[in-house]
């Protein structure tokens, strides 16, 4: 406790930048995380669009196939 006991209270103009710095760091971490997750979400969205396009392409290919005569 000795180090803490001798540490005097910092004046507001000095302490303020450290307190602001700590809270900005916290906010920055949360924002960076949310940003990374947003980019992953957009990737999933692209995959979903691609899947929809592929399924529709497959369906239209099946529809355009001529019906075959049943073999007697």
């Amino acid at each position: 406790m000795s180090l803490l006991a001798v540490a005097p209270a910092l004046p507001l103009h000095t302490a303020g930048k450290y307190v602001a710095g700590a809270y900005i760091v916290f906010l920055a971490i949360v924002l960076i995380y949310v940003g990374i997750m947003a980019s992953r979400l957009s990737r999933t969205e692209r995959e979903l669009i691609e899947l929809r396009r592929d399924v529709e392409a497959q369906r239209s290919a099946q529809d355009s196939e001529p019906e075959r005569e049943p073999v007697a």
Binding site: A22, V30, R40, D54
Partner: protein, 242 residues
């Protein structure tokens, strides 16, 4: 099938409201500390981050144990995300802690402080979790080994905490103790609201990441079911469960 997005909106709003309340209480309600002055305000974010990160590591270990018991891979994914989130909160703890240390002690880092050093050891231990996963290609083995690691490392966290608390020669201030703590009422209320806010943020982000992972896996499963196995691009080697 679990839908992780359910309740996420309400949880996000609750986390945002609690965090806002915590900030208001911190800067407009809690009195200035007689010894440290304004710099003590950092504790209202630093200590909740540290507690949440350590609880997150233990939570990851518990989820890993459930995976080992059930063999259901969803528990491995939950454990992975819990540890991932705890690492992010741990980085926040270290950064806010070093800022406080610089302002209060005049040094960014004090190696002789057991709390600081032990937290760094816990962080470094869990920092090896992802490389461990990355080094194993077989998904089944990856999940099993990672869960064993999560359980052992998770058990180390409370032991480490108790050992540091039992140490006599420390310089780190004690915010909470079993005998009631060193905080007066207004500071205690502010601290508890901040702790609730950070804990809610952890749970919200955990659910957010789980929802994102679950959605991606469902899209891949859907592609496989509709277009066949060949239509799915094989995943690159990854630390993340697939």
């Amino acid at each position: 099938m679990t839908t992780y997005g359910r309740g996420l909106r309400g949880l996000s709003l609750a986390a945002a409201a609690t965090m806002t309340a915590a900030l208001v209480l911190t800067f407009f309600y809690a009195p200035l500390d007689a010894n440290q002055g304004f710099i003590q305000k950092i504790f209202y974010i630093h200590v909740p981050l540290a507690i949440t990160a350590l609880c997150g590591f233990v939570f990851g270990g518990v989820l890993g144990a459930v995976y080992l018991r059930t063999g259901d891979r969803k528990w491995d994914i939950r454990s992975y995300v819990a540890i991932h989130m705890a690492l992010i909160f741990g980085i926040g703890t270290l950064l806010t802690g070093t800022i406080w240390a610089k302002a209060s002690w005049g040094h960014w880092w004090v190696w002789s402080d057991p709390t600081l050093t032990s937290f760094l050891i816990v962080m470094l231990l869990f920092a090896t979790y992802q490389p461990l996963r990355f080094s194993i290609e077989d998904p089944e083995r990856q999940s099993r080994y990672a869960s064993v690691f999560a359980v052992v490392a998770g058990a180390f966290v409370p032991l480490n905490f108790i050992a540091v608390r039992a140490a006599q020669a420390y310089v780190h201030p004690r915010v909470l103790t079993l005998t009631g703590g060193n905080l007066p009422g207004s500071m205690r209320l502010t601290f508890l609201v901040a702790l609730a806010g950070v804990a809610l943020l952890y749970v919200t982000l955990w659910k957010y990441e789980m929802a994102a992972k679950s959605t991606r896996m469902q899209v891949r499963a859907l592609r496989r079911a509709l277009l066949g196995e060949d239509s799915v691009v094989p995943l690159k080697r990854s630390a993340a469960p697939s």
